[in-house]
Subunit: 198 residues, 2 copies
């Protein structure tokens, strides 16, 4: 039996595919935006604006408002240390800790034998090219403490060693199984300061 | 320090005001829709379509695609029994139980002395007019089992009694403190069947 009006059900289905929303919370959210036109307007406007104005940085994969993000464009930041992260939100988490003054590289995922994700599918070749271009001396592998994250770190460390580049990884202090962007700033600070050679 | 790009931060702030989303989950969601353009397109399109196509029923306050919703327009449904609910989602929950064959009235809230919400601010005068228009003989008060919900039920029951209309309320079976739209279908069925005179 068709209980919900069709346009509403379509909206609930689309919202229900977003991360963190189930069918029930998607329905609540849909009803909320539909009954409050000013909120709906805000959502539509800010979303379209963000999509139009945001660019993915050509250099590192960060999100910004220019072709090259403000971190890559910042001449006061060191080229000698490059921090490799899985996603853009990991950059933000590390930036909030305020302790890192080098540049970043967004891998866009981790190598996963189970899911069939190879080094080429995440940005490993682009990363190695970038390391050469910038003349990087140390690469900090700030990937998640999951099996796939650690495997990826070791794979990249092997490749970097052959290029004569030091690979380090975030210090213990990061709880096993956690994701970088969920860490609090204090733990992240400790982890960055206590990084060790892989 | 400005860590997030401004258009992104604006989007996170707007999304963070939606029910069930905090700053962290709003950021996840914003990043998800921005990095997957097809999902962003779906969200923008279905939301705009829903806003354009959905109407609030002139008779009962339900959400539908016509001026009068499919329940009010359905001549096989009884006019003699009217079910009063707090919100549109409560109608959907009761419709899913499949046991009610009368019509609905969406109150749009409950009377609350603490929040200063008077009978006139929720739809009580419109409800009483509707009861007279339809020639309703029984009003089922399917409001939440909260203090405000119960107060509202008793207030409406008093007014209906003076008009010679029977007021009933959902049977025990509804756990104290629960909201109508969170009940499972079996409990709702029991509660509708076991309703008693207030």
């Amino acid at each position: 039996m068709q209980v919900l009006p069709l346009p509403f059900e379509r909206l609930v289905r689309v919202l229900g595919r977003l991360p963190g929303l189930g069918p029930r919370s998607a329905q609540r959210m849909a009803l909320h935006v539909l009954t409050k036109p000013e909120i709906m307007g805000d959502v539509l406007r800010t979303m379209a604006e963000a999509a139009e104005q945001l660019r993915i940085c050509q250099e590192c994969g960060n999100l910004g408002v220019h072709e090259v993000c403000h971190i890559c464009a910042d001449s006061t930041r060191e080229n000698a240390v490059l921090c490799v992260v899985e996603g853009v939100d990991d950059i933000w988490a590390i930036e909030r800790s305020g302790v890192f003054r080098g540049k970043y590289f967004v891998l866009g995922g981790v190598i996963s034998a189970l899911s069939g994700i190879t080094p080429d599918m995440v940005g490993v070749p682009r990363l190695l090219a970038r390391v050469q271009d910038l003349g990087v001396q140390e690469v900090i592998l700030a990937l998640g403490a999951s099996v796939d994250g650690q495997t990826t770190s070791h794979y990249i460390a092997d490749r970097l060693e052959k290029m004569g580049v030091v690979a380090t990884t975030l210090a213990k202090g990061m709880p096993v199984g956690a994701e970088v962007d969920y860490l609090d700033e204090g733990t992240l600070k400790l982890a960055l300061e206590g990084r060790r050679k892989l």
